[in-house]
Symmetry: C2
Amino acid sequence: MRFADATLPDGSRRDIDVEGGRIVALLPSSESTTSDADIDLAGALVLPPLVDGHIHLDKTLLGLPWVPNQATGNRVADRIEAERKVRAARTVPESETGANLVRQVVASGTLHLRSHVDIDNRLGLRNLHEILKVRERFRDLVTLQIVAFPQSGVLRSPGTADLLDAAIAEGADLVGGLDPVGIDGDLDGHLDTIFGIAEKRGVGLDIHLHDGGEGGIAQLLAIAMRTKAAGLEGKVAVSHAFALGSVPPARAAEAADALAAAGVAIMSHGPGAATMPPLLLLRAHGVEVFGGSDNIRDAWSPFGNGDMLDRAMTIAYRANFRHDHELSVACEMVTAAAARVLGIADYGLRVGGPADFVAVEASSIAEAVATRPRRRLVVKAGRVCARDGVLVV
Amino acid sequence: MRFADATLPDGSRRDIDVEGGRIVALLPSSESTTSDADIDLAGALVLPPLVDGHIHLDKTLLGLPWVPNQATGNRVADRIEAERKVRAARTVPESETGANLVRQVVASGTLHLRSHVDIDNRLGLRNLHEILKVRERFRDLVTLQIVAFPQSGVLRSPGTADLLDAAIAEGADLVGGLDPVGIDGDLDGHLDTIFGIAEKRGVGLDIHLHDGGEGGIAQLLAIAMRTKAAGLEGKVAVSHAFALGSVPPARAAEAADALAAAGVAIMSHGPGAATMPPLLLLRAHGVEVFGGSDNIRDAWSPFGNGDMLDRAMTIAYRANFRHDHELSVACEMVTAAAARVLGIADYGLRVGGPADFVAVEASSIAEAVATRPRRRLVVKAGRVCARDGVLVV
């Protein structure tokens, strides 16, 4: 079948011919003849599928009546405690609210996700089991990577290390971590544990790091060093890394060199009040930066909707991006760069590539990032799975 | 006529009875009988009209093909220069693009605006004349206050002072200002001029202040002092005031006390990269804080859409608001607080008040701020002027 008259990211107008779920031709629109069986994109911009590099499918309360935030303070520890209360009051399982969110993100054009899933010694593997159900349910529609995330710390929640290891055995794809110093108060102890599991199981890591300033930088440098020592280059990410935005640029550049040499990627969701990692500096030093939603209407945040073009706009706004080439960086963070970090090899708009894409009402990448455009179509393996923001499968 | 089954901000379900453009009754929905002539709001949350306390109607390029940002640097002066190039290349008058924006903001529920309008010795009063046309065109739909804004400075653009004075004579409502030190390099000279015009003409002021740190605080204190000296308490606002977010809280509190004593209000649009004024601290010290869009798809910014609930969300996100009571503050900044600053006396949902309101798909103020809800209806003087985000007048 043919998706006629697409505007590709390079500005060219092409017909996208699809067979067997793959793109078999990208001919100039003017040279082709159309038939009634074609879907006319009428010049809509076509992007490869959006990629969410950091979501929490088990935390969202999406689809439930409004739940006010209950944290009694602004520290990470306060929010962890508040989440316990919200979780205890839940009447709908995480597999259902997680599915609500997956449906919403697919409708906005996201087909690949990395979700952290809470694991601690009270929860055990319950949330993992719920989100494994979501993965199974949507297996034909989305790639869902799962990070075994020690939300309550590793050392301060005894037994969590074994649970993280068991989580990988049961299907989680990566080992997570959380503020080795800020939460566990033991940099080496925390990193020994999570890198140990990753090496044993032959998987990558994605570590939450909120700790700011020099303390945060020291943890980033330690993560880079251990990544090289473990031979895990290209398989480790640090999420948030606010510290990179809270030190002088020269110091951030030193950290960037270490991260780049170790192949450690940095995820930013464009935080509201925390400091923003210097994205262009990081890229200039060779660090892969990618985007993610982070919390979506959960015990942590009332905000968020899982739309990665909206997220690219937030990232761009916080990064002070205004020029088209800067807005393109934000777009890359939620498409190709995130796909690289997630290891989605079969990705991109090209002849021979998967017929996965999203058609949006914009004339260019820059406009798509700056204007939160309507999603006309989302296509997975050649099949239309959402129209005008509404799931149709 | 009756707008049946509204959820008011206090959570009560009411029918809104309207006669002669005013609200004549707010009866509990359960106690009333409905007729076919009623409009059923089906429990939608009804808010008083949104108020945009800071917009630039003459700058927007809304409705035109995408115009890439052309600034060669990140200083205010670089952006002023880039705007000259964009302006020179314009083929559509500001009255048309400004009208595009007014239509869009009304469709989102905004019925009162304060627009800054560029005035300098190259432009003269041209932009003012264009935006006066917009005011006339939409006079039955929106309140449009105009600030005579010296975008190129007052002293460094000789002749601007006379132009600002002439602008007030021709219909501008307030005198503007711009970084007395950062742009004009002369705090007293700048303030002498703009306060002089305001006193002579008997109008208020709204001054752009981007200058950060102690330098910015000194300018805020000088503005507060002059406001009291001129007897202009309650008629002066400072827009942006990034400085308040770049000094220690104790110093911001000192400045807040001075601003509160002088009745100087502070406008924030929730800046992307600049520091955020400490909104709760300012309010605790008695300062009126209000919201505005600032630039919308113009030579300064590729972002923005004029939706003040979206703006409230940006403000809340940047201010780290997460609790319902904090989200309510963000809502107040784009409704009642902005109405107070603009001096819109005939405002608010009450029996005897104007039948002006917006019905949104949310269950509470907090949800309305956090979720960018669909606008079901916008009503002005009892007349439906937009439905589902589309203008119908």
